[in-house]
Symmetry: C2
Subunit: 318 residues, 2 copies
């Protein structure tokens, strides 16, 4: 019995794999190694403990063949589907990216699971499915779902197809709507960008917007905790959970100040205009995690603490 | 200035086209003529008044070329996108059908509109996006959306992609969530099936389930009224409306009795077991049209009246 993680060589995939390895699970990581990389596997000392299969999940036939081969040797009992485009602006400029990497990867893995009769599916969805609701609290019972990016759209499209699959063959689908997730080995995002910029300029940090953007940040260790907590509740059917911190997030200004504090305390911060980074960016959201907390889980860090830890981790390794 | 209706030779498409023709609009019907047919155009005496372009919208290049050609001669200002798979059980057995005919048609028409800079989009969505909520009233603010058929999933996927398109280039998207729509020239559905069966057996009508399934039915004339009413409100942005009657629907038993009454009053009705016709069928739903009614529109018929009228229409022409 083994576990398959798609996008398994990515930032969240390797952290999840590490936890499964400590549970003595046999873990297979499927990845096209475009954004995910073997370096992530070395960084988390996973080499030898997991098997990496390089295949692009948007290629149905190759993926079916690769996954069937694993399943013949060691029955796959769970699929954790994390493979997706993670560059939201790129997907907004060219919808083909999110169609191929975010939706068709979900579509294909579900079809393959149906053929191989694999019944447990966990999915990395996103707060972006809610769209821009301003100050409204984002709770799972909220509708209609009107994403403003192709990334959010293709994640919602994936949720929809997963839901229908539960009716026809899946026993369990866990849909986790992630906020911004930070930690190591992160490869993109605002903390990463700020550190890169400040390392170059040293004396000042240029922020694109006015710094008032406010979002929920979760450290990857809390995210993995939450997902495994829900897995252990042995739900059947389709289950949707927001995963997030117990607060209303942290502003871009707060993040910029933390990066400056830890890296170049004397640097000035120079702000731009507006509170939207790019088309499809949700400038502010209040994320509600009541449903998850009602199951007995609570995050160990606030958005601010998660940012502080992630900045430190990133500075030590970059 | 002209209007493009995709799936325009289908049941709802020709009814919509007819109304646009009475408004003296120039109307183009795009259709692959698989389920839609030229016969529908003859039946509604639309020949000469509309132009039919036979192209399959899941073929992006051919569709782009065909629609660009129209747009060069007469600017297309509105797209009404009705093209979709309408055979729900077929799509549940083979997800490729709904992917291709329901989702990729939406994906392609949106991409084409972006290239041609067409800013108004109306979409035929469905009550199936809500999934099976039992006795809960289906209102637009309900979430999470957990469809139980691939048909519902690919309609929801379409809504998601449309919503993101409003952020990047569309001025207006009207998303109409249809209930069961009946009338002429209908080609499938429970009324059609019952009439076909009863015409063969004459003395009895066999019903698959126990007859307790209860759904909202809307006559196509009311549906078109509702959509044009909303169009005339000149909304911008993305707008989602349930379109349905002012009641809790009619049971399959009620429909069977109406067909028997009008066709063979002495026939017996023989019921089967269970209240689910097939995987992906929602056995019962209570459809809430408060949002639409608050804009000043109200249906002219109840579910029962719509069924009575549609049975009569179908009997007169079949």
């Amino acid at each position: 019995m083994s576990i398959l993680i798609t996008g398994g060589a990515g930032f969240i995939g390797v952290n999840l794999a590490k936890r499964f390895v400590t549970e003595n699970k046999r873990v297979y990581l499927l990845d096209n190694l475009c954004r995910g990389s073997l370096k992530n596997i070395y960084r988390l000392s996973l080499q030898g403990a997991v098997e990496v299969i390089q295949v692009d999940l948007h290629n149905y036939n190759k993926s079916l063949s690769a996954i069937s081969q694993i399943d013949r040797n060691e029955e796959i009992t769970e699929v954790w589907h994390l493979a997706a485009n993670s560059d939201i602006p790129a997907g907004t400029n060219d919808s083909e990216i999110d169609l191929r990497d975010t939706f068709m990867t979900t579509y294909n893995i579900i079809r393959i699971m149906r053929i191989l009769d694999i019944k447990f599916f966990a999915f990395a969805s996103t707060s972006a499915v809610y769209g821009d609701r301003g100050n409204e609290s984002l709770v799972e019972t909220l509708g209609p779902l009107l994403p403003i990016s192709n990334y959010g759209a293709m994640k919602l499209a994936s949720e929809a197809f997963i839901s229908a699959a539960v009716e026809s063959f899946l026993d369990t689908a866990l849909i986790f709507r992630f906020p911004n997730v930070i930690g190591m080995p992160g490869t993109h995002g605002v903390i990463y960008d700020f550190i890169g910029k400040l390392k170059e300029s040293r004396s000042y940090l240029e922020v694109l917007g006015d710094g008032t953007q406010q979002k929920s940040y979760l450290h990857v260790s809390d995210l993995i905790d939450a997902m495994l907590h829900v897995r252990d509740l042995n739900y059947s059917g389709v289950n949707v959970f927001n995963v997030g911190p117990n607060d209303e997030g942290i502003t871009v200004k707060g993040i910029a100040e933390e990066v400056v504090r830890q890296l170049c305390p004397d640097a000035r911060i120079v702000y731009g205009n507006g509170n939207k980074g790019w088309v499809g960016d949700v400038p502010k959201f209040r994320y509600n995690n009541d449903k998850l907390r009602a199951t007995g889980w609570s995050p160990s860090m606030s958005s601010e603490e998660a940012v502080r830890l992630a900045v430190g981790e990133l500075l030590r390794t970059s």
